[in-house]
Symmetry: C2
Subunit: 369 residues, 2 copies
């Protein structure tokens, strides 16, 4: 399964060349500030740089900080609002909160407070009371699902910066890992099992491609999928929030070796850990109609699709095979389908192998962590 290749820097860790230079330079500069907080009795957890959440250490717990955003999914909601009269802003609010919360839990942190940043191009955006109401109710509901407090936010009007009629929806969260033993580090073992948890649909990544596909369809977002639902409606299915799942697993004492929130870079995200392993997928999750539709109408081949979309798997947990049933039981109790998808093998380079599709991604294709 794991053929040896020449060992490369890309294969064993962060590939600074493939990372975009801005992120690389920013990470280097950011590291130089780490010592500032030692006077307050805090220290940074160096390994969390480049992970989905930034961690600070105290004697008996870790604090976590995440900054994230919705991307351009609001443009799909705007289009569907014009077509149907339903705003969908409750659903995209959940998407934004999910982006933040699902990043935070990857390291075992539970979100405490969630702030909303809503930038508009013109203050008349707020004149649509229905849309405002939906956004607020959706953000609140999502905070309930993420089991955190909605802790304020900011709503600037940025004329000349945000395109009028649109919004930039983003936010941030503080969280906590306590006790410290609940920290999820990259403790991946040879023969670990890969458990994939169902996604609700496309999440907040890959929307640019999805919007282009809509432009090329005679009926656009109103085109029906195989299940009879409209394309645009399906794109806007709100992202699952996996906080209860991770909290449940940790409460149960399951030793989670690593997790991946499958967003941008699709299943290539499975090899997010720096250590070199082969992630071998033997069974695929149930295909959601949206992904078949995207592949057909792009057209998008399997390599591109699994490398960019979540393809029905929104979150991955790596555990000992003995723990697979327990994880699946907790997922089931929360109404989430899960799949014992495959296993992990030691390897001299990082790679993801999707056997049913005969696809292999090398570590070098996941430059940006």
């Amino acid at each position: 399964m794991c053929e040896n290749e020449d060992m490369t820097y890309a294969g064993v860790g962060v590939n600074y060349d493939a990372m975009d230079p801005f992120k690389r330079d920013a990470q280097r500069a950011a590291r130089e500030t780490a010592g500032n907080i030692n006077r307050l009795g805090f220290s940074e957890v160096g390994m969390s740089r480049g992970e989905s959440a930034y961690l600070l250490e105290r004697p008996d717990h870790y604090l976590a900080h995440v900054e994230e955003g919705l991307g351009t999914k609001n443009l799909v909601a705007d289009a569907m609002y014009r077509l149907t009269g339903k705003s969908y802003y409750d659903q995209i609010a959940q998407d934004a909160v999910a982006m933040i919360a699902n990043d935070m839990i990857t390291l075992g942190a539970l979100p405490l407070s969630m702030a909303m940043h809503l930038a508009v191009g013109d203050s008349d955006w707020f004149d649509d009371k229905k849309r405002c109401h939906d956004l607020i109710e959706g953000w609140k509901k999502a905070c309930m699902l993420a089991r955190c407090a909605w802790g304020g936010g900011e709503t600037p009007t940025l004329k000349g910066v945000v395109v009028p009629g649109t919004i930039v929806l983003s936010g941030s969260a503080m969280g906590v890992v306590q006790p410290k033993g609940r920290l999820i580090t990259a403790n991946i073992q040879h023969d670990d099992a890969i458990v994939l948890i169902e996604s609700s649909g496309i999440h907040a990544n890959g929307l640019t491609m999805a919007r282009k596909i809509a432009d090329n369809l005679p009926n656009g977002y109103l085109t029906k999928l195989t299940d009879g639902r409209a394309y645009g409606e399906t794109l806007l299915d709100p992202t699952h929030i996996y906080v209860a799942l991770i909290e449940g697993c940790l409460d149960y004492g399951i030793d989670i070796h690593y997790t991946a929130n499958i967003t941008g870079h699709g299943w290539r995200k499975l090899m997010r850990a720096t250590q070199p392993f082969a992630y071998i997928i033997e069974r695929l999750p149930i295909q959601l109609p949206i992904f078949g539709f995207l592949q057909e109408h792009g057209p998008i081949d399997d390599m591109e699709a699994y490398g960019n979309f979540n393809m029905g798997a929104g979150f991955a947990l790596y555990v000992s095979e003995a723990d697979v049933e327990k994880v699946q039981g907790i997922a089931r109790s929360l109404g989430l389908n899960s799949f014992y998808a495959g296993h992990i093998e030691k390897c001299e380079t990082k790679k993801v192998i999707i056997k049913p599709k005969n696809i292999e991604y090398l570590g070098s294709t996941l430059g940006v962590r």
Copy 2:
């Protein structure tokens, strides 16, 4: 000094009618999520809702969360970059960090980690290496001044949402108040002294007005002020970061009764606390050339100017008269001018009185907290 008026809801606290409805509805919805974190041993500090930082309580400390942004000041930097070849992005990075950090310290919290959110309209924005370098170095330097760790961030490309060539620069911070006695609550006393700390210039508020003034000047941003510096250059003087000042005062044991970060709403922010008091200014700070220029070329009268700009006073501390000298000594040691500007009197309504200018602002004019 304080004539009694009919007591109104607006005069004694949050004016929900004057607040914009979105913020009001969001605050109401947010409050309903507060209980979610009690299971983790945290509880929200209710009084911090509507303050500049959101607080969570632990047995021996408070955590603080701030979400803020730069506004549209980057458009001035963009214009000056075209005119002069200097990007000024190091300076606006400091403005953005200052907006976050100076909000956090108002309650006595010290920033721990600072995240950057940089949304662009087109990824070719990153092709300008000089501007990228300036932004990164400026953010790092500002984190040094704010004595916190730069803890990651997010750099989405939002085509169709952010106007190409521009950016939305915002961010968030986690912070801590420890020990708990360092929390700054609204403990304002009759006869308290008002100490104003110098600003560096216009900060990140009021830029829309400043840009309009530039449009009407024959030489635009290159128009000279009385001190010979260009208007645009002066507008971009980076905002002071007052973290060291507040930390110094708290370390010294000064009992700070309340503070105000003077940003939007200008000196009306002096009456930010919900309790009714009259804030009576008897002495004005040294006039910075930028504010005289703005007033002359607007034209902007004193009422409008002091009600919207910081007018040379970037931060206010309210302390007992006996502590004024100590605060001023600490400010001086940090290279900051300060002014014993006036005092506070009990009053049945909230108001700010600027005696040298014969101006009075009623509490009802500060609807949005």
